[in-house]
Symmetry: C2
Subunit: 394 residues, 2 copies
Amino acid sequence: MPGQFLPFSADEYARRLAKVRQAMALQEIDLLFIEDPSNMAWVTGYDGWSFYVHQGVLVFHDADPLWWGRSQDAHGAVRTVWMQDDCVAWYPDHYVQSTMCHPMELLAAIIRDRGYGDKRVGVEQENYYFTAKAFLTLQQELPDAILADATGLVNWQRLIKSDDEIAYMRKAARISEKIIDGIVEHIEPGARKADLVAEIYANAVRGIDDDWGDYPAIVPLLPSGSDAAAPHLTWDGRVFEPGVATFFEIAGCYRRYHTPFCRTVFLGTPPDYLLSAEAALIEGLQAGLEAAVPGNTAADIARALAIPLENAGIDRAERAGYAIGLSYPPDWGERTVSIRNDDLTILEPGMTFHFMPGLWMHDWGLEITESILIRESGPAECLCDRPRKLFVKN
Amino acid sequence: MPGQFLPFSADEYARRLAKVRQAMALQEIDLLFIEDPSNMAWVTGYDGWSFYVHQGVLVFHDADPLWWGRSQDAHGAVRTVWMQDDCVAWYPDHYVQSTMCHPMELLAAIIRDRGYGDKRVGVEQENYYFTAKAFLTLQQELPDAILADATGLVNWQRLIKSDDEIAYMRKAARISEKIIDGIVEHIEPGARKADLVAEIYANAVRGIDDDWGDYPAIVPLLPSGSDAAAPHLTWDGRVFEPGVATFFEIAGCYRRYHTPFCRTVFLGTPPDYLLSAEAALIEGLQAGLEAAVPGNTAADIARALAIPLENAGIDRAERAGYAIGLSYPPDWGERTVSIRNDDLTILEPGMTFHFMPGLWMHDWGLEITESILIRESGPAECLCDRPRKLFVKN
């Protein structure tokens, strides 16, 4: 029986499947195996924390997709995918993390049985969870097949969001705002970081009214002072100090759709260098938003951002954002478009990005970001609605 | 400057490095590249949510390990590893998630520069994050090297815990107990799952007194009723219903060390089949604990567990546990020993496991588990101290 609590309509899944098949045809792929949990969920609805073992979805041109995974997770698949139960296949538990056998041996048997043993089979070579060993095992078990690299094939189909997806990202944006409001309210000198993180999680998970919060694909990041030079440090039990800036990198998440949002809070009177950086960054964000119009490229956003920053003597080499939407750990990005000088993807209405020009300098950091939606015309819309500034609390 | 907030002493890291080098020598590996974030942290202390991009540690026989990763994460590395700053190397940001270049091209250059271009280089073929593409790129860039499979090489060195590690797991156990206490206190018919998850996170993250809680490698799992047949479903906004069982699979985490702990709560009067299963499961757990003595094998625990379950007509094919300790998402297991019939690993004092005989039946589920420590003699010690039973709340 198909899942009773699917996030999207049958039409929406049909639309997605058609797009994937079209991309497969363009790349002359006869059969596609996707192991990226985000792609699995986007195509089938599957939702569960089971991606720490091998699993995936086979996409056929002429039949419904086949969910494939560990025996016990097949129970979760029949409850969450839109396909009928005979589109759920499983492997026995003793294949899990075994040194004697590998689940891909059994996937290869399915591929052979279905008649694709000598066909072009697409696999996501550059993806979490599809390991080198998985690839080598498939290669060994399918000597007559061509294992074509289909990295990103599904991800690129996800780039332009449907109205239903945008509605979910707006719900996630409300949650992001609530998280940031809670941070600004509760942060103070002497407060323990771990206690503030408890507040962040509570707001993230309770959500807003009936719109409960799902787990974000990245945990809250909140380094302070000189540690804010390092963007990916997590929390500890130390307290917030006066005279120090802390950035907060968070995302509200609604049914796996993320709307990341970052703000920085200074406790006390900020130093001049931080105020100058704030001014340049806000000017750069505004310039970037104005460049984020259909027909321009992702690189145009990056270039517009860079000018005010360079004028302020800030040379940042990092990318300034990435496509966002449905995701699972360890990354809430879609891993397609990057907002940077060499990405010439043409912007289209319905694309969504985390416009994320974090400043990670030698011994300080500043994050003020926006999740944006490319509109039919005019500058991008910011999905969250909170002051675009360095928050100062005395 | 080495990290100022390292979780372990220099001696502890020296012990670990010596063990890894010994294992490398046994497998005739000249140079080891580890990308598993748990292994990276265990060897170097590195801690950060940066594993969504390629990074890793090179382990040499005759020099300190080299941390390697994305430019911005090098800031996090110099703050968290025990090595000097010249043991931190980085690649430029435009290699991140690029379709034009791959970070492994630059890692290969380092390997060649250090004189290992024609040597036996160990890589973790079966590991999250070391992708098929990473392997193929290294293979192409290092045509004269032998890329030996070193999957699990470091993981196996982690199996027997030091006293310091066990002390951390005891702290995590206190946090696990606090989480379960909070669940039993707050669950009631009509309460929203998402709200209870907010409580779970708050307890997990606040920790106990100075022992703040780190993020567990798996989010809380709490399926109810028939959905409890599916072990890896996460929460939603529905409410707890009377007359239904919900299992809670959680772990306290202290500085990345996990002590998983699962209990099931029934709201109302449990049906007979659940009480029979509870009795058999508790008998099986007790039998397993008594079999968990030095000199016995992991399989002995599984077999001791199985007898009372089979007597009660419960035939479970899944593994009944796994090694635990330091971990990062997506799995809090160490991915070495499994408690199952075909695992003949001999138990030794200091090993730690999540003894996890979850029952996931056709339309119900029951989880009562223990995280255990193998002692010098006698049955294993349970790290958490809460009643081993189905909790019933009327």
